[in-house]
């Protein structure tokens, strides 16, 4: 096993990965300081006959410094993370012209509903595909996430997408793929005995191939319903 994040295939993934590695840098630096410090002190101040410990109850300057530095770093991380979070999740961040897809989770499958030509969900020209989630590359996609039974979690590692599907709620999320490929939806919230195998195929198409797939599926769906 190599130690890495999976290949990134979405716009938000770039920001998330950058933040991940920033935090990685900060935390590893802190880790090294503390661990080396502890080991060094253990060695340097190991008990020996005839020497005695320094009698001190603390040092205000030192304590202020090591309170202030973590506080500043944390506030910085909070503000920086908050901006990225807002770009991904806030209501204002949702693109207007996005392709809207409905996803309904139930034990233990993902039902994906595509809008008809009007690009609106919830009318007669919608069609539903089971356990296949196919989207075009370089186009923002909004997923309206629902659940029929337990709580599930819609997780596509490569797209850096994760959102719980909660019964009784419709949760919208959006993302934009930046590379084509085949991935998987994984359920990330314990949802019963089939949780471990609640997966679905994700295909990120070139625009042309998506259009072709969409047309074919749409036609097939109407052939069966008519």
């Amino acid at each position: 096993m190599d130690w890495s994040l999976p290949l990134n295939a979405s716009t938000q993934g770039e920001a998330i990965d950058a933040l991940f590695w920033l935090i990685f840098g900060i935390t590893v630096a802190a880790l090294v300081i503390v661990e080396l410090g502890v080991v060094w002190f253990l060695w340097k101040y190991r008990g020996r006959k005839g020497r005695s410990a320094r009698y001190t109850h603390g040092n205000a300057t030192a304590e202020v410094i090591w309170t202030a530095i973590p506080a500043l770093v944390m506030v910085f991380l909070g503000i920086y993370s908050g901006r990225i979070w807002a770009n991904i999740r806030s209501i204002d961040s949702f693109p207007d012209d996005a392709l809207t897809i409905g996803v309904v989770a139930k034990q233990f499958e993902w039902n994906v509903t595509y809008p008809g030509a009007d690009r609106m969900l919830g009318n007669a020209d919608d069609f539903t595909v089971r356990n296949r989630f196919e989207i075009p590359v370089n186009e923002p996609v909004v997923v309206m996430l629902e659940s029929e039974d337990a709580i599930h979690s819609f997780f596509i590692p490569e797209l850096r997408v994760k959102q719980d599907a909660v019964p009784g709620m419709i949760v919208p999320i959006w993302f934009q793929a930046i590379r084509t490929g085949e991935f998987q939806i994984a359920c990330a919230e314990l949802c019963g005995l089939g949780h471990y195998r609640m997966r679905a195929r994700v295909v990120v198409h070139e625009t042309d191939s998506y259009e072709a797939w969409y047309a074919e599926r749409s036609a097939a769906a109407f052939a069966t319903t008519q």
């Binding site: 096993m1 130690w3 994040l5 938000q12 998330i16 991940f20 935390t27 880790l31 503390v34 410090g37 502890v38 002190f41 253990l42 101040y45 008990g47 005695s52 410990a53 320094r54 009698y55 001190t56 109850h57 603390g58 040092n59 030192a62 304590e63 090591w66 309170t67 973590p70 944390m74 991380l77 909070g78 993370s81 908050g82 979070w85 991904i88 209501i91 034990q107 039974d149 337990a150 709580i151 997780f155 590692p157 850096r160 997408v161 994760k162 719980d164 909660v166 019964p167 709620m169 949760v171 991935f183 359920c187 919230e189 314990l190 949802c191 019963g192 005995l193 949780h195 471990y196 997966r199």
Partner: protein, 599 residues
Amino acid sequence: MATIVAEATGTPVLADEHEMPFIRKYVFSTDHKVIGIQFLFMSLFFLLVGGFLSVLVRYQLGWPGRAIPGGEALPEAMAPGGIMLPEFYNSLVTMHGTFMVFFAIMPLLVGVYANYLIPLQIGAHDMAFPKLNMASFWISVPAGILMMASFAVEGGAAGAGWTSYAPLSARPDLSGVSVGQQMWIVSLVVLGLGSLLGAVNYITTIINNRAPGMSWFRLPLVTWALFITAILILLAMPVLSAAMIMLLFDQTLGTNFFLPSQGGQPLLWQHLFWFFGHPEVYILILPAMGFVSEIISNGSRKPIFGYHSMVFAIIAIAFLGFIVWGHHMFQSGMNPALGMSFMIATLVIAVPSAIKVFNWMGTLWEGNIQFHTPMLFAVGFVMLFVIGGLSGVYMASTPVDIFIHDTYFIVAHIHYVLFGGSLFAIFGAIYYWFPKMFGRMINDTAGKIHFFATFILFNLTFFPMHGLGMKGMMRRIYDPAQYEHLSDIQDTNTMMSIAAIALFGTGLYFLVLFFWSLFKGKKAPANPWNATTLEWQTPSPPKHGNWKEVPVVYHGPYEYSHPDMDRDWLAQNERPDIVSPAHPGRTGAAPDSTEDGAE
């Protein structure tokens, strides 16, 4: 006021060992020390149970689908032919978490050491309400038995995770578990009642029954931590009980608090659970931090660095602990704007934790460090807790949490905090206070072997989980091989499982050592570690009633290596005639180090 004097000093007869029948002395005892020891045996048993469940979990992850050796003995509903079923796996994961959190670590920290140490450290004869204290233990026992018994009922034990998210936990048709889940709820409500009685006792005792001279800022940090922990239990536990009762009604009475069918809200459960659950995390770490402060100061032969900031850090952590619960719910469908405020509060809580770590380092600095077993575990705690604390920063950051939420990164984090943190501190505490509790020593070399084996195997088991989380391996999955992005992790999982099973072996080694020392250990002196706090100024073990005469306290808790002393420790109750008013080493001292800290 008059009553307190009478209660604190008016019962010297207690210190005489008067004859009591066996059952009053060891079974239905009201002596806080006996109750503490009873909790110790109970929670070590459940630690063993929880550890064993984790071995089964790791077996499945290490060798998916292979028959468990000897597993043919398990019922068909769990593992037909010895091969574990997914629903049994879910129960194992759930019950491992439940036993470890509620029946092992929490009683080890609070049940054992709050009971045993608080009256001794503050110079009281016993708890304020000894009978309630006894009730608290005897309420916990049936709760544990009920939880164990749930494996035997139809449908098996609860399998919705230790967090038991509704609606899965509320609807037997979704989880396949009905009676087991109800037993889980009842057991935890009963246990919560027991913890509550304990908390009322600890708080009252610390407020009202301190010995003369034992002012607030002369309390040992263990007692401080346990005091704040008791407040957390007092305020958080009843919220869990309320939520549990609603969940039980959803299961049995046909209500729909957490079921969306008639307007109920699944997220309400999560809010209530984590409103309890996050303070619970601090319930599980604050006492551990107290033990470590005590042991590091003793092992370094130095006063604790920044006593006052240590106390304020505990208080700050406890306060902030009540307003960060939403960070468990960033991906739950909660309003993203709320995510923002919970993130800030969560990042802020890293600051008092950092203060504590740096103060421990400050205590080591220029010390005269003694490497006895408790000290090794305390230093091990610092080294591992840092990893757990820093990995928390990743999930506090909401965007990164999108990726790592509900992955093994979280599993790594919680184990670095609760095993590398709490449990290492608990081992340290057991080695440290064993002589006081049982009047015998645990062999130091044998203890060191236990430490190094545990430290190495712990890291081999849990450190790779960070990598699995980065790969995107989800929690609580029975078979990672189902997923393409997890196709190359089996070797790592197998290695971790081998390490985990060996780690369980070190636990067995510890139990053998523990029981062997109980009967065959070298006789312990009253103060084997040359420690300063009051419990070491009584015989080992202390008699019923603790003191013939209530001690008088003259100093803060960690007066090690005072320059005017010819030995390197000064007990809290020793007369200060020999001590000069000069305080070298306090030049340019902190403004927060007021008179009390200097003494």
